[in-house]
């Protein structure tokens, strides 16, 4: 068997690293964007219950059609810019070729809900969505801040 030179060994290592890098890049981008796009809620996914207490529920249904595992987390909050009034979060682990469902409720007392409604111009609704893949090395974050209205992303 012919002995390989050191330059040939390094060349094989370079080629392997290039193939692994390009494959990991393509797979992680595909997984990341697929999970994010599938998780974007529509108007039907936001449910407001006007009972006592008031419950605003956001439903998310992330789907992972990729070949890498992914973690999906969403943080929903109401704040005034300086102070967080109320917040809740949910975190899901998605295996390859799997889907999950989650609901994030924001529970507000009737008195607070009336106060927030009167000051709705000063209140921001923030949805912070985070998708990670490739052993949490690749991260996609999307923070949507809506002033004066319930988030409708």
């Amino acid at each position: 068997m012919k002995k390989l030179k050191l330059s040939q060994v390094v060349g094989i290592l370079v080629l392997t690293l290039q193939i692994v890098g390009i494959t990991a890049f393509a797979l992680s981008l595909h997984t990341m964007m697929s999970v994010y796009i599938s998780a974007i809620p529509s108007e039907d996914d936001v449910d407001v219950s006007t009972s006592d207490p008031v419950i605003i529920t956001l439903k998310v249904n992330p789907n992972n059609p990729g070949y890498l595992g992914a973690k999906f987390s969403v943080n929903l909050s109401l704040n005034t810019g300086e102070q967080t009034l109320i917040s809740n979060s949910s975190s899901l682990t998605l295996n390859p070729k799997s889907a999950c469902e989650s609901e994030i409720p924001l529970v507000i007392s009737v008195d607070d809900a009336e106060e927030y409604w009167n000051d709705r111009d000063k209140i921001n609704c923030v949805a912070d969505i985070r998708v990670t893949t490739l052993f949490d090395l690749v991260v996609f974050r999307n923070k949507i801040t809506v002033s004066g209205e319930i988030v409708d992303a």
Partner: protein, 204 residues
């Protein structure tokens, strides 16, 4: 011998890929995409210009390097510069046109009452590209050393006899495997001296 034909073909291919294609892309993009780029504050013209500049550098280095002798130190310098330029182009693509961010891209979109902030962290691929650059540079240096060294361990037949002109390989052969048409190689300097003396006498 310099590999001129291969370097010309490679230089033309790199020019087409990294200069001509980015130059033609803007004329094929829909107007809505330009509006989207404006919304997310992404300057597509600057991005493509960066790619074209490094594309010109890479294709020039490839073209000129093909006319140099492989064992020249300038060939090594050109190869290292070409590897670095290729990696910079990869980093430009990973970072969305901002090399200084090293793969971390952020953008903000402001609408009427909505603010959208997007962050994409691809720094791991920046470090992979850096590792590839270091290994490719090491490979280039090792290959250049193998080509440029005049005498190597392969050329040594025995402790007493050194061949000054480089040969590809030589392995001591058994007499049973020796090609009868091949002239026997002297094993020692004494035998070489004897052969030279005999040749001198026969010419007299």
């Amino acid at each position: 011998m310099p590999d001129t034909k291969r370097s010309v073909i490679t230089a033309v291919f790199l020019f087409l890929l990294f200069v001509l294609v980015p130059y033609l892309i803007p004329s094929f993009l829909p107007y809505e995409l330009y509006q989207l780029f404006d919304l997310v504050s992404f300057d597509i013209a600057v991005f493509l210009r960066q790619v074209m500049v490094f594309g010109v550098i890479i294709s020039s280095l490839t073209l000129v390097g093909g006319f140099l002798e492989p064992q020249s130190i300038y060939t090594l310098a050109f190869t290292l510069a070409k590897n670095a330029s290729l990696m910079i182009i990869m980093i430009i693509f990973i970072g969305g046109g901002k090399i200084q961010n090293m793969g971390l891209t952020e953008t903000t979109l402001n609408l009427d009452k909505m603010n959208i902030w997007i962050q994409i962290d691809l720094q791991v691929f920046f470090y992979i590209a850096l590792g590839i650059l270091i290994l490719k540079s090491l490979e280039s240096v090792l290959k250049w050393r193998e080509i440029s060294l005049p005498v190597s361990a392969e050329n040594i037949v025995s402790n007493d006899f050194y061949i000054t002109t480089p040969i590809k390989s030589y392995e001591p052969e058994d007499s049973s495997e020796r090609d009868p048409e091949r002239l026997p190689v002297p094993e020692t300097r004494w035998e070489l001296a004897q052969e030279e003396t005999q040749a001198a006498h026969s010419s007299d």
